[in-house]
Symmetry: C2
Subunit: 241 residues, 2 copies
């Protein structure tokens, strides 16, 4: 990997010198919709960073149900199990959009860098911890928020990730979003209806959020992370600008 | 800390020599029901290990709802945020049972030990990852399992933790269990009713599980962790003994 554009990702940004000797081990790949990047149960030899596109993380139950445990887009990292020795991937990674570009970072490289550089090791630990807090919060929101509020929280997250306050792009099938949010497709449709009074509108894969402040008010008052959440504070700051 | 009984916990077991110089920094405390061990937002200076008793991990929403994000008992660790520098506790820890005994391990001690001992550092990383997988699975189960199956999974977990196959002790108020399992108290009562055909009976704080194999069959066929789950395999092994 030599392309300077990658350095915009936090994983590389603060550690550019430390990464230099390892760049030849890192490669970028392009996948089209419905391709699998990793398979549940395979040896976890790489950690994956999405440059552009969408990937869903899936698991299957013995009685044939498919569960979406993650939805990743630009800048997201998946396959972190590879940080542990002899781990296997705990999910399948399916590409949701054509021309999705991902970077494969060998687990060996990350482990070596982590051993050589205490600051980088702390960074990885913090990243894992943040991810853990997010999952824990999502679990909690299953009982503290309504379905429409959970959808609202997901839209706030997209606003933050895409650096947009008025329009976000979500080129994903509705049933995948519903599965990720832990609701039935018909509940997702009803939830979008409930967000209409806030001015939120869906046109194909583009969602208009005309007043982020109103959405924050609708969602965050019911969430125990309120006052501590990046998404909430970023949305409010952006709305004021 | 000098008591040899602590060495039965995995955190100390494999690293007894490495722990020796640090034992004077570790202290044990006893708390009664309704006491708070840690408060949400306080600086996270210690990691806590439960020797005996029960502790619930709580958060509050701005609109006054209380959410139980964790239920910890013998051998469980909480307050892992303390592993990161300048972190604060992401929840309040409330004692659920009189004479609950916990060990307070200074964050500084853990960080120092972790820097000196790469094997211990890996152990911590693995522990965090396992916890992460558990939370992720619990989130997924909110949509893949029914309420009664989620209760059944929790009972299997208690069977495993308490090393029992026929009777488990759960001296916790029903509304705390319901909150932890993300359901209403009336749904919990209905779920216990649904488990009756499997022979499961509740008498005060004791729950009889006469046939763990039947419970595994009822729960695990709907879970994507089936075939990889410790609780499932331990229960089957114990039932065969």
């Amino acid at each position: 990997m030599t392309d300077a554009t990658y350095t915009c990702f936090p994983l590389f940004q603060r550690f550019q010198d430390a990464w230099k000797p390892f760049l030849p081990t890192i490669h970028s790949h392009r996948f089209d919709k419905h391709n699998y990047i990793i398979n549940h149960g395979d040896p976890a030899n790489h950690v994956w960073l999405i440059v552009t596109g969408w990937v869903s993380l899936l698991r299957h139950t013995p009685n044939g149900k498919q569960v979406t445990v993650g939805l990743c887009t630009n800048g997201d990292i998946f396959g972190k199990a590879a940080l542990l020795t002899q781990a296997s991937y705990p999910y399948t990674g399916e590409v949701l959009q054509n021309e999705t570009e991902v970077i494969a970072i060998p687990a060996k490289t990350l482990r070596q860098l982590s051993q050589e550089n205490a600051e980088f090791s702390n960074f990885l630990m913090e990243t894992m911890n943040k991810r853990m807090d997010r999952v824990q919060l999502k679990l909690e929101q299953m009982s503290s928020l309504t379905a429409a509020q959970r959808l609202g929280c997901f839209l706030l997250q997209l606003c933050q990730q895409q650096g947009e306050t008025s329009q976000v792009s979500m080129p994903i099938d509705k049933h995948v979003i519903a599965s990720y949010l832990g609701m039935k497709p018909e509940t997702l449709s009803r939830s979008f209806q409930q967000l209409k009074p806030l001015g939120i509108q869906v046109k194909q894969s583009t969602i208009t959020v005309p007043d982020v402040g109103k959405l924050v008010e609708y969602v965050c008052g019911s969430c125990s992370e309120s006052g501590l959440c990046d998404m909430e504070s970023d949305a409010i700051t952006a709305a004021k600008e």
